[in-house]
């Protein structure tokens, strides 16, 4: 799992995964295998270069970027639309608009009404969905290859010809409020959401992706339409197509659909830098569940900072695999936690290393102490060469598994193009191989400060208290 994927996954967990249930499955059951945002990947040179040609990247005259990956593992094509809009672009009175817009784009255009897209896509055996995060919004349609052009047409209509019917706005608002209820009901997603609020206090990354009741209630057709016109411009979009396709044929399809959209002269607004944490912030919240959850978060390098490579390996070695240091110590040896995971999310304006453990309320203090001990140990001695290799293998394998499906690649490329760069993504595994144990130790010293982090505990109501 690469670093940008983790950004996507963290967001998914923070916002949405609680509601993740589908045709055959319920909400509030154990989370499904990673899926809201299939992992980012490239054509990792040593692994599959003999099987996958490199992706083709082009820029249309109107500024729209197009990435095509010819990938023939199945007769299924993934078409993604990535838009550079998300929470961080919202003004304080527009909170939740990016996500509201994501929903509304499925609700009708000047040529088709609500429900049409679902029937059109599912009627050929395909799937569609969308994700809203801090730095981006992405939409995808995955279909049998003969429906590729139809999928591109549908995404184009959503991107430029949505109508925002006031009645549909009112209905969809209620759906989003339900989405927020689901998030609140799931402690694992709620705690990460709240941790972001502490680590990025005062910064857009600390805001709720789902917005607030007042901002959402104030979202009129006029205001949403203005937001749409501002950000949904060809210069702010990337289309990614992966599957058994010919790049030239895809280019022609995209020219016919997205090509005529005029430039608007859009320029991304400047991105504020998060204020560094000045001390350790400690919070506890009482919850209805008996299961306690501990979360800790540190500020970390942003997506274009190459120091992030070492942080990726660091987080993996500490708590990113089944045999990580913290899994062994806290879960297996001390048997203090039921699970412990650490993620590094590299956002465009700043990164976050977040840790989450499920445990009993009485063990929260002890677990936190041991986590700090293990951080101190890796700051002192660094990882072993074996640990470094194992972490690199994990990323290499993640790339290899991504190549099993077309959406694995399409998602990875779109995320990279929107929040990082396609080039950096393609060289990613090779760069990780070059990170030394010394660099990982330095990253631990620099980023996992024992005096500058946020710590949040969910404890049962009326149970043992926690500061």
């Amino acid at each position: 799992m690469t670093r940008l994927f983790r950004a996507a996954l963290s967001i998914a967990l923070a916002l949405i995964a609680a509601g993740c249930a589908g045709a055959t499955a319920p909400p509030l059951s154990p989370a499904p295998p990673p899926s809201p945002a299939p992992s980012r990947s490239a054509a990792p040179p040593r692994v599959v270069s003999d099987e996958l040609p490199p992706p083709v990247r082009e820029i249309l005259p109107n500024g729209l970027r197009l990435i095509v990956q010819d990938q023939r593992s199945a007769d299924i094509v993934a078409v993604y639309l990535w838009v550079g809009v998300g929470v961080r672009y919202e003004q304080p009175d527009e909170l939740g608009y990016s996500h509201f817009m994501e929903h509304m784009l499925f609700k009708g255009t000047d040529t088709w009404g609500p429900g049409y897209l679902d029937r059109a896509v599912e009627g050929v055996g395909g799937r569609s969905n969308a994700v809203t995060s801090f730095d981006y919004t992405s939409f995808y349609i995955v279909v049998p290859s003969e429906a590729t052009e139809r999928a591109i047409q549908l995404l184009n209509q959503m991107a430029f010809r949505s109508i925002f019917d006031p009645q549909e706005i009112a209905r969809e608002r209620e759906v989003i409020f339900e989405e927020a209820n689901i998030e609140a009901d799931n402690p694992k997603s709620a705690i990460i959401r709240q941790l972001y609020g502490l680590v990025f206090d005062g910064h857009p990354y600390g805001r709720p992706v789902l917005g607030t009741r007042p901002t959402m209630n104030a979202a009129t057709r006029e205001r949403l339409m203005a937001f749409y016109k501002r950000y949904y411009t060809p210069e702010n979009m990337t289309v990614v197509v992966a599957g058994p396709v010919d790049p030239q044929a895809v280019r022609a399809m995209v020219d016919r659909t997205f090509g005529p959209a005029p430039r608007t002269g859009y320029q991304a607004p400047p991105l504020p830098t998060p204020t560094p944490l000045k001390e350790t912030i400690r919070r506890a919240a009482e919850r209805p569940e008996q299961q306690a959850v501990l979360a800790m978060g540190w500020q970390a390098p942003r997506s274009d900072d190459t120091n992030g490579d070492a942080v990726d390996l660091l987080a993996t070695i500490l708590a990113g695999t089944e045999s990580s240091r913290l899994a062994k110590r806290l879960r297996d040896d001390e048997q203090l936690v039921q699970s412990v995971t650490m993620n590094y999310a590299a956002l465009m304006g700043g990164g976050i290393v977040s840790l989450r453990a499920e445990l009993e309320a009485k063990d929260v203090e002890r677990a936190e102490k041991i986590i700090l001990e293990e951080i101190a140990r890796i700051q002192e001695n660094g990882p072993t060469e074996q640990e470094r290799q194992l972490a690199v293998t994990k990323f290499e394998a993640q790339h290899a598994f991504d190549t099993e499906t077309s959406e694995g690649l399409a998602n990875a490329y779109g995320l990279a193009e929107t929040t990082w760069s396609l080039e950096a993504e393609i060289q990613y595994v090779d760069r990780l191989r070059r990170v030394t144990t010394q660099q990982i130790r330095e990253a631990a010293r620099r980023y996992l400060s024992p005096g500058h982090y946020a710590r949040l505990a969910f404890v049962p109501r009326g149970g043992p208290t926690s500061r």
């Binding site: 045709a23 055959t24 509030l28 929903h103 599912e122 293998t393 598994f401």
Partner: protein, 446 residues
């Protein structure tokens, strides 16, 4: 995200008849290669009765392995409910040569994973790795299947972990609703409880009981090994024979004999703290080998499949009554359950329940349209095609049908049956299985 992510297709299970099919004495390795929708699959039977399936798939440099055993809730009783899943968690926590940490470290080193779970109709050990390590991951999976040590201290910890999980389950509105509905639909059949088991039964199970359960179920005639990835079938087969060939034989285990009660209308209302209300309606539904199986799948998809389904388009898109809504009808060896679900705001509970009931009634009263039928069938088949792209899912499908005794080719027959379902079939099975209906509502306390 607009739509909650679809979870994996629900599990199948294993059959007693399999005993007859696989128990037959085979003098040497019998091998058949068949072209099916799964791609080229080689099926072999080892002299001790173990079935090996291999699918060569060079598309990505990875491999997936599944070992399935005729063991799961279907063979359990209320007294030992959850023992299969507990045993599975234990087999990956120590063998005669590796401790639990060494097992996961090995899998991490191979760029993969190893996991084990118990389900309703089977139990599974699954492994993945970079394909250059296929031999090592197969060896690791075989080691935990053949030589588990079931260490006593770990056993206590794992059992405590599961008891806590059961407690947590009791705090999740959806889980509470589903468990309550399943108990209503199935009791006394063992499908009445989730594979995790019951607190009372888990607290009673000791290590000797677990060892006895292992010896009863891990016999070659009741096991299937499936491998898919960038591998060579002949090499995998030779290695599987070397690893599993010496497994001691024994009688194939017989499932618990109990029948689910006749359908009836029931209604339960429970209180669990939370922000959402959960409304579930369900009934006993046909087993996977029933001629109505494909029609009920299509009927469930017309209602709750995808975003074009009636529940999503009517109750969520048009009425704004829900964020999550779905139907489920997992394939089961014995008669299973059809369940329709709606998660809604507490103040909408009564309205949403009435709207859900109305949709379950409408599909019995009016035939579905030509377009709805076409979309639902495309959805079922498209879902299947997309879900089967990874090697991990491929081995899951291959092994689960094989261990259920219907052969992995079942999937091709099922696909053909789905294509043949008519609007009349949908209406007929809706009338047959959706009335009477059982209802469970779980509401927040305030």
């Amino acid at each position: 995200m607009r739509r909650p992510t679809p979870r994996r297709a629900a599990p199948l299970i294993a059959m007693a008849v399999l005993a007859l099919l696989l128990g037959a004495v085979v003098a040497a390795v019998a091998q058949v290669e068949v072209k099916s929708s799964a791609g080229a699959v080689t099926r072999s039977r080892l002299p001790n009765g173990l079935t090996v399936l291999v699918r060569e798939n060079p598309a990505a440099p990875v491999v997936g392995i599944s070992v399935m055993v005729q063991m799961g809730t279907r063979w359990e009783t209320r007294e030992n409910a959850g023992i299969s899943n507990l045993l599975q968690l234990m087999v990956v926590r120590g063998t005669t040569s590796l401790n639990g940490i060494q097992i996961v470290e090995t899998a991490d080193r191979l760029g993969g994973s190893i996991e084990a779970i118990g389900a309703a109709d089977f139990s599974e050990i699954s492994g993945t790795a970079l394909s250059r390590y296929w031999k090592e991951i197969l060896g690791l999976v075989a080691d935990v299947a053949i030589n588990p040590s079931i260490p006593e201290p770990t056993f206590q910890a794992v059992r405590d972990f599961l008891v806590r999980q059961i407690r947590n389950r009791g705090e999740k509105p959806y889980d509470v609703a589903l468990d309550t509905l399943h108990a209503r639909i199935f009791t006394p059949h063992p499908y009445a409880w989730d594979a995790i088991g019951l607190k009372e039964s888990l607290e009673r199970i000791d290590r000797p009981a677990l060892v006895a359960h292992y010896l009863r179920h891990y016999v070659p005639g009741a096991m299937v090994v499936a491998v898919s990835g960038k591998v060579k079938a002949a090499e995998v087969l030779a290695e599987a024979e070397r690893l599993f060939g010496a497994l001691r034989t024994g009688p194939v285990p017989v499932p618990t004999s109990a029948r689910s009660p006749a359908p009836a209308a029931t209604r339960d209302v429970l209180v669990v703290p939370g922000a959402q209300s959960q409304i579930l309606m369900g009934a006993l539904a046909p087993r996977m080998t029933d001629p109505d199986h494909a029609a009920v799948k299509v009927m469930g998809t017309v209602l709750g499949g995808g975003m074009a389904g009636r529940l999503f388009s009517e109750l969520r898109d048009k009425q704004g009554l829900a964020y999550t809504t779905a139907t489920q009808y997992p394939s089961r060896v014995d008669p299973g359950a059809f369940v329709a679900q709606l998660g809604t705001a507490p103040e909408n509970t009564a309205k949403a329940a009435a709207a859900l009931a109305q949709e379950l009634e409408r599909i019995q009263r009016e035939p579905v349209t030509v377009e709805e039928l076409q979309v639902a069938k495309a959805y079922v088949l498209g879902n299947l095609a997309m879900d089967r792209r990874t090697n991990a899912r491929q081995v899951w499908y291959l092994a689960s049908y094989e261990v259920a005794g219907v052969g992995y080719e079942f999937l091709d027959r099922y696909i053909a049956q789905v294509r043949q379902v008519t609007a009349t079939d949908v209406q007929r099975v809706a009338r047959e299985y959706l009335s009477p209906i059982r209802t469970v509502i779980v509401q927040p306390s305030n």
